[in-house]
């Protein structure tokens, strides 16, 4: 590949907390958050799908809110508190949302799953009794090519139950 005229390395020092652990690194401003999480921090549970904010595979929690990490720059997350799928389970004990996906067959290939789970995590942090409409609106921000969605909707409902009785 030919080098572009402006192809000089510009970096910024950033720090952020991911799943409770503090990280500091030099990054190029053009590094997307998902590439930083996967490439620099080695947290490959967050997946890269469409890279333009449509498919939801890269969804992470940014200061508690579900966002697309493929259309957020790592430098924009400087100082932020992040949660990725690696931060859901407690050691070998699955998070209730993960357990619900397992029990309801809410995944097949698993590519989209981390994103779905983090969006549900945000929803259930906001309300313990989401309406059907709220659940569908949340899941609507994600694409899955395997399950036909019904089992994911069922997993979300089961997750609501599990979180309530936890």
């Amino acid at each position: 590949m030919t080098k572009e005229p402006n192809d000089v390395t510009i970096t910024r020092r950033i720090s952020m907390t991911v799943n409770g652990e503090r990280h500091e690194a030099d990054v190029e401003p053009r590094t997307t958050l998902v590439d930083f999480l996967r490439g620099t921090l080695g947290l490959t549970g967050t997946h890269v799908g469409c890279e333009h904010g449509v498919c939801g595979a890269c969804t992470v929690l940014w200061n508690g809110k579900a966002v697309r990490s493929c259309i957020m720059l790592a430098v924009q997350a400087d100082g932020a508190e992040l949660k990725t799928v690696e931060g859901l389970a407690d050691g070998a004990t699955l998070h209730p949302i993960q357990q619900a996906f397992l029990e309801k067959h809410g995944l097949q290939c698993g590519f989209c799953t981390p994103g779905f789970m983090l969006s549900i995590y945000e929803l259930l942090g906001r309300t313990s009794a989401p309406t059907e409409e709220e659940i569908l609106d949340t899941l609507g921000g994600h694409l899955c090519r395997c399950t036909g969605y019904q089992s994911i909707v069922e997993a979300a409902h089961l997750a609501v139950e599990k979180m309530r009785t936890r």
């Binding site: 572009e4 402006n6 192809d7 000089v8 390395t9 510009i10 910024r12 190029e28 401003p29 053009r30 997307t32 590439d35 890279e51 333009h52 904010g53 449509v54 939801g56 969804t59 940014w62 809110k65 579900a66 966002v67 697309r68 493929c70 259309i71 957020m72 720059l73 430098v75 924009q76 400087d78 969006s119 609106d137 949340t138 609507g140 921000g141």
Partner: protein
């Protein structure tokens, strides 16, 4: 799908931000929520030398509703306004329009000011701004100014903002008394940009005739489009299906040339606009009767 090299600045004040934009004239781009800009960077359709991120500037974030309207700081996340119980109760049209923007995961990061300044002609917020006569506050090297929505959207992705001007706040007036509203759109998939959409605001006289009408179409031209001739057809006439049908035909017929792309032809978009105008007027009139 990776962005080209660019430099990145996080000014702490608007003065510092406008100064950066002046010094990098034509080569700098303002970054707010990034829900449109970062995809454009990923696809290398945008190649700025410098991104000026407004996120560290204080006082650009907040939503306040009073009797006159809803004032929103430019960096306020769309989701924050959508989830505001005050906005939901006092400005149901704005609330409904926000829910049509992409997905909750985009609205968590996307800002109100970013969407307006980006000015995608298929976006909901510009259409709502035009329909409601919103006003925009901008700051630039020459000071501050207020811009009316009717003067703000110039053409595709282009607004009245100068290169070194920054949108700081927008004010959406409340709906007038005895009016009803509707926002209708059709998209290929839930959360996609609208192929065509309509915002309608209808006021009824005590006897039931149409006293006022506001129609704004989006996704069918280079900017959101006010269908003034169709509005004039409606006023004074009965609020019935025949009137709404005539207004839809007129609004669609007046469209210069809707976009043809992989999603829909110009003819399809024009016909969709005709149908949606009729639906939106019917819904708005029903709401006006209950208002």
């Amino acid at each position: 799908m990776k962005p080209p090299v660019f430099d990145y600045a996080t000014p702490a004040s608007l003065a510092e931000a406008t100064d950066l934009l002046v010094r990098h004239a034509g080569d700098a781009k303002v970054l707010s929520g990034g829900q449109s800009l970062v995809p454009l960077l990923n696809m290398r359709l945008a190649r700025p030398a410098l991104l000026v991120d407004l996120a560290r500037i204080a006082d650009l974030d907040g939503v306040r509703a009073d009797a006159d309207g809803v004032a929103i700081g430019a960096m306020t996340r769309q989701r924050t306004v959508e989830l505001s119980s005050e906005v939901r109760a006092r400005h149901p049209l704005l609330h409904a329009g926000l829910q049509l923007i992409a997905h909750p995961q985009n609205r968590n990061q996307g800002t109100v000011g970013g969407s307006l300044a980006h000015a995608d002609p298929a976006a909901e917020l510009p259409a709502l701004a035009l329909a409601l006569d919103a006003t925009f506050d901008a700051v630039g090297p020459g000071g501050t100014r207020r811009i009316a929505a009717a003067d703000f959207f110039l053409t595709y992705l282009t607004t009245a903002l100068e290169a070194a001007e920054i949108l700081t706040a927008v004010r959406f007036p409340m709906l007038p008394a005895r009016t009803g509203w509707s926002i209708q759109e059709v998209a290929r998939r839930h959360g996609d940009f609208a192929l065509a959409g309509v915002v309608a605001i209808v006021g009824l006289a005590p006897a039931g005739a149409i006293a006022s009408a506001r129609l704004v179409l989006f996704g069918v031209g280079a900017t959101p489009i006010r269908a003034a001739a169709a509005e004039a057809l409606l006023v004074g006439g009965p609020a019935d299906a025949a009137s709404f049908g005539r207004a839809g035909a007129r609004a669609a017929g007046d469209l210069e040339e809707p976009l043809t792309d992989v999603h829909a032809s110009a003819d399809y978009r024009r016909d969709l606009a005709r149908v949606l105008v009729g639906r939106a007027l019917a819904e708005a009139a029903t709401r006006a009767r209950g208002a």
